[in-house]
Amino acid sequence: MVFFLYLSGTMEAREVYLDNAATTPIDSRVAAAMEPFINTMYGNPSSFHMRGKEVRDAIDDARVVVAGVLGARPDEVVFTSGGTEANNLAILGFARKNKQHGTHIISARTEHPSVLEPLEHLAKHEGFEVTYVDTDAFGCVDQEAVMAALREDTILVTVMYANNEIGTISDVKKIGAAVRKFREANKKAFPVFHTDACQAVGALEVDVQKLNVDMMSINSSKIYGPKGVGALYVHRSIRLQPTQFGGSQEKRLRPGTENVIGIIGFCEAVKIADEEREQESVRLTKLRDDLIERILKEIPKTRLNGHKEDRLPNNVNISFMDIEGEALLLYLDAKGVFAATGSACTSATLDPSHVILALGLPYEVAHGSIRFSLGRSTTKEDIDYVIEVLPSLVEKLRKISPVRVDPKYFL
């Protein structure tokens, strides 16, 4: 009888994609915008004929649209191959070009690898010194910490807007204001402030004027646009050294024939993300809070990683104590729920999430973390389904596990 009730109460199997922070599907409107450039408008925008010019015009228009959303001028937008290249160009390009003005850079341990690794490269091979400011227990970087680390020879501050793993939002506006105040007090053009806003477009305010940022990285594949395209906003007063050479495209900062199809799709994606931002954020925040609340309530020994309120509308990151993330991920996968983990076992380096470790949490807690990132397709029924299948999967893996994590990490 109990079995029967259980069966009748069980929802039908479904597919629930909760990995939108990794990438999103392409919006049909974006695909439609790209279609002509796949099929008929094949010209090289650098070519001096009609087929070239029509594509040049389309890219120029796209740049105007993206710049408009960012509150920037079109010539301040450099199209790149994505967020990683934008971050690399901002950091390596700026540091190398401006080395004579100082060799100190400020950042944080919770940054994306496409920020951390260029910084490590600069520190190791090019004579720079990097100060990583501490975050609070939620992964938030505050302007006090940045101000305390500022020095005469600081040329660059790079702090991410919203964290890709735990969704924590830092107040970049305040950090930017602090950096500007420091510049004015010292009557210098340095340091400049860069932010990685790859997770923020479509969720948060991305107007560079309002945010007090000097450089900002954004990308397409997380906002329902195609993969392999993004942009770096660079204030017109800032000079960068290219990281690759061989053409005059993108003001020589990004030589090579433009990724035309990608740029057109990206532009459409940015436009839609901006238009739907407020409404979609409200909708997602509700679903997010519902998922968080129900997991914490219905599954014992769980903790929310990151901040309860200052987090991306689509990010849920939970550590399930005593179990290992990859195992849970695969069990979820078998139920049609697609998520991500900070566990070492799915990473190429076999290291668990550096973000969760940077919060001062132990390896076990990082290994057991799962990120559910919601998106446009997510519905209340999806959340219900996750809550339906998740508890028994966790219970099963806990039964197998010999580990008992210290209660101080989840109470």
Binding site: E324, A327, L330, C345, L350, E364, K399, I400, P402
Partner: protein, 223 residues
């Protein structure tokens, strides 16, 4: 099921591979044992229920495994093996498979069980990603630890075998003890350990195992 693919012995395989057009290397056999693990203990062991226990790994490394044996005293045969593990898909599957191997056909004799190799477990699973193979196949080690525990408890001290050092990189002949020494001397990154030992310099396939050992020893000695 998106990660169905047949891999043979996981040779040269990583979690994903660009040259083989395979995204996941978990075989049907691995998945069967992962989704339906055999012989795990879903509660704490009772007093006197088992006569040997073995443990390997730590949650900090990402994998921890405990096994319990019932050894028949007269024949020194494993009549029951139960386990608990904190680990990824292949850790669970390989432990489950090893538990079957140790107890099937009336159970393995201790002297044979002691010779169980990770390769034997992997073969029965139809292969594992190479990266996973090094870090997640732990049951053979836990088994040897439990067998020693049995001999200790039954006061057959002459039969206890201390784990001999293990060659990690057949090219440079670097052993796990060499890596342990390097970590103790302060080499806490792969690069520093390589500077000291030359491990994996001409044989990069072993590097995941080396990284795992570095982390293990770092955790063991420096917390």
């Amino acid at each position: 099921m998106t990660y169905i693919s047949k891999a043979k012995n996981g040779a040269g395989g990583d979690v994903s591979s660009q040259d083989k057009k395979q995204s996941w290397f978990y075989t049907d056999e691995v998945k069967d044992h992962f989704f339906h693990p055999r012989n795990f203990l879903d509660r704490d062991p009772k007093e006197g229920e088992f006569n040997a226990m073995g443990k390997v790994g730590s949650p900090a490394c990402g994998d921890e495994l405990k096994i319990w044996l019932v050894v028949d005293k007269a024949s020194e045969t494993i009549t029951d093996l139960k386990w608990k593990t904190f680990g990824c898909g292949s850790a669970i599957a390989s432990t489950s498979m090893a538990s079957v191997m140790a107890t099937e056909n009336g159970g393995m004799k201790l002297e044979d069980a002691r010779k169980m190799k990770p390769q034997d477990i992997m073969e029965r699973l139809g292969g594992l990603p190479q990266r996973k193979f090094h870090c997640s196949v732990l049951c053979d080690k836990a088994l040897r630890s439990a067998i020693n525990d049995y001999y200790r408890r039954s006061e057959q001290f002459e039969k206890i075998e201390v784990e001999a050092k293990r060659v990690i990189d057949p090219v440079s002949k670097v052993t796990d003890h060499d890596i342990e020494e390097a970590v103790l001397e302060g080499a806490h990154t792969l690069e520093l350990v390589q500077q000291k030992t030359k491990v994996g310099v001409g044989n990069p396939g072993v590097l995941p195992a080396v990284e795992e050992l570095i982390r293990f020893y770092k955790e063991k000695y420096f917390g």
